[in-house]
């Protein structure tokens, strides 16, 4: 019984050590435990195995902890500053759209400006988001290697908090309460998407990881928009005292997000009035999701691949460029 319990504890302990030295250490501990067992010393056997299993997690005990301070600080700085940078990127994209479409095109070709407004904003925001993603893939090289789940939580939670703080500071107070459930839904969904996609990246399936990540992020953002609109809008116009409450047709709900990005170019889907109403309700969140997603995925994949021995073995020279492929 004691021997079996010790064997379980040693297996638990071994799993906490880096893969490269795990087998040797396990063999060594088994040999020492065997000597104790032969002497019939059950208490020291249990103490030996339990101490190994319960000691400070050997995430990387081969490294001097003082050398980990830099990566930890760099990672923390990135996780906190990247959402701010993405928010600025979204703002910059919208400002450039306003400058080009509303500023000049509106006077010369107002009909064209009407059609190009959303897609121009999307292109500008996406451009800055991709730049941020390239930077994130490079910076991931200097960060702490983390597992897919802590990585996903560490990346997404600061984004949610940044958006909430941004809305609370710069927009109407009721807007925060309107968007908060959507933010929670988006954060939870993105943690799941990043976790799944980072696992695929860690196994070396980078193309699959990008597919899962981009499609998953789109679905999560789409659900978030639908959730907010349905939560705050009746299905039809409702006449109330002193006027009426607008309503939107729910038949095209899944197209709300793509049409917010593409504008009325597509020519199908909900009415323009519905889209204006949806746009007013969700406001900046679709552009913030667009600004966040590329860097979240790029950083998660680069970190996951750095940590994965399989990916490292298949790619002798690993770097952000390789990680971003």
């Amino acid at each position: 019984m004691v021997t079996r319990l010790c064997a379980v504890l040693l297996r638990v302990a071994a799993r906490r050590w880096p893969a490269a030295i795990r087998a040797d250490l396990h063999r060594e501990w088994q040999a020492e435990l065997h000597v104790l067992a032969e002497r019939g010393r059950t208490a020291p056997m249990l103490a030996y195995a339990a101490s190994l299993a319960l000691s400070r997690p050997a995430a990387d005990p081969v490294l001097d902890r003082s050398t980990m301070t830099g990566p930890v600080l760099r990672t923390a700085a990135f996780l906190l500053l990247a959402p701010l940078a993405a928010t600025v990127a979204a703002g910059l994209g919208l400002w450039l759209m306003s400058l080009t479409v509303n500023g000049s095109l509106l006077h010369s070709r107002p009909d064209l400006a009407f059609y190009l407004q959303e897609i121009t904003a999307t292109v500008f925001v996406a451009f800055f988001a991709v730049l941020l993603a390239l930077l994130a893939a490079r910076l991931a090289r200097w960060g702490v290697p983390a597992g897919p789940l802590p990585l996903a939580v560490g990346l997404v939670v600061p984004c949610g908090i940044t958006v909430a703080l941004f809305i609370a500071t710069f927009m109407q107070s009721d807007k925060l309460w309107r968007v908060l459930p959507e933010l929670v839904l988006w954060s939870a969904g993105m943690v799941g998407v990043l976790w799944l996609a980072a696992r695929a990246a860690a196994l070396g399936h980078l193309r699959l990881a990008w597919c899962v990540g981009l499609m998953g992020a789109f679905v999560v953002a789409d659900l978030g928009v639908v959730f907010t609109v349905l939560n705050h809008t009746p299905a039809h116009y409702v006449v109330i005292e002193g006027g009426f409450e607008p309503g939107v047709s729910r038949a095209w709900a899944v197209l709300w997000l793509p049409l917010l990005y593409l504008g009325p170019l597509v020519g199908i889907g909900p009415s323009q009035e519905d889209m204006w109403y949806v746009g007013d309700l969700v406001d900046l969140s679709p552009y913030l999701y667009l600004a966040f997603t590329p860097y979240l995925l790029a950083y998660a994949f680069a970190t996951a691949r750095r940590r994965s021995p399989a990916a490292a073995a298949s790619e002798p020279v690993s770097g952000p460029a390789a990680a971003g492929r």
């Binding site: 040797d24 040999a31 103490a47 030996y48 000691s55």
Partner: protein, 107 residues
């Protein structure tokens, strides 16, 4: 190499007989460190090049036990370890200069 108390204990135990080969339980006994502390220290010392490890060359079937892993200081470990322990010793010596470092009444 940062010389924490457990590291200093292990280095001191190994320096007690630099030519001796020591195994885990032996070092636990000498240093009074639990296994969960000792093995990370041994790994750090190996990474720093102060300690080398090798497997005991025995026939497990004939001996009736698995081969053990032995540790011993490398020449660099002997030199650097002695130096580090001497520095630690000097840094932790109470100051015996007259009039300095001695306990004085607070009033």
């Amino acid at each position: 190499m940062r010389l924490t108390v457990p590291v200093a204990k292990v280095v001191a135990a190994l320096l007690a007989d630099p030519d001796a080969e020591r195994y885990g339980l032996d070092l636990m006994k000498a240093t009074e460190l639990p296994s969960g502390t000792l093995y990370p220290v041994l790994q750090r010392l190996q990474q720093a090049g102060w300690v080398a490890a090798h497997w005991e060359q025995i026939d497990p079937a004939a001996e009736g036990r698995p081969a053990r892993r032995y540790y011993r200081l490398t020449p660099q470990g002997v030199t650097d370890g002695r130096h580090a322990l001497a520095e630690l010793h000097a840094a932790t010596q109470p100051n015996t200069e007259p009039g300095r470092g001695q306990a004085r009444p607070a009033w």
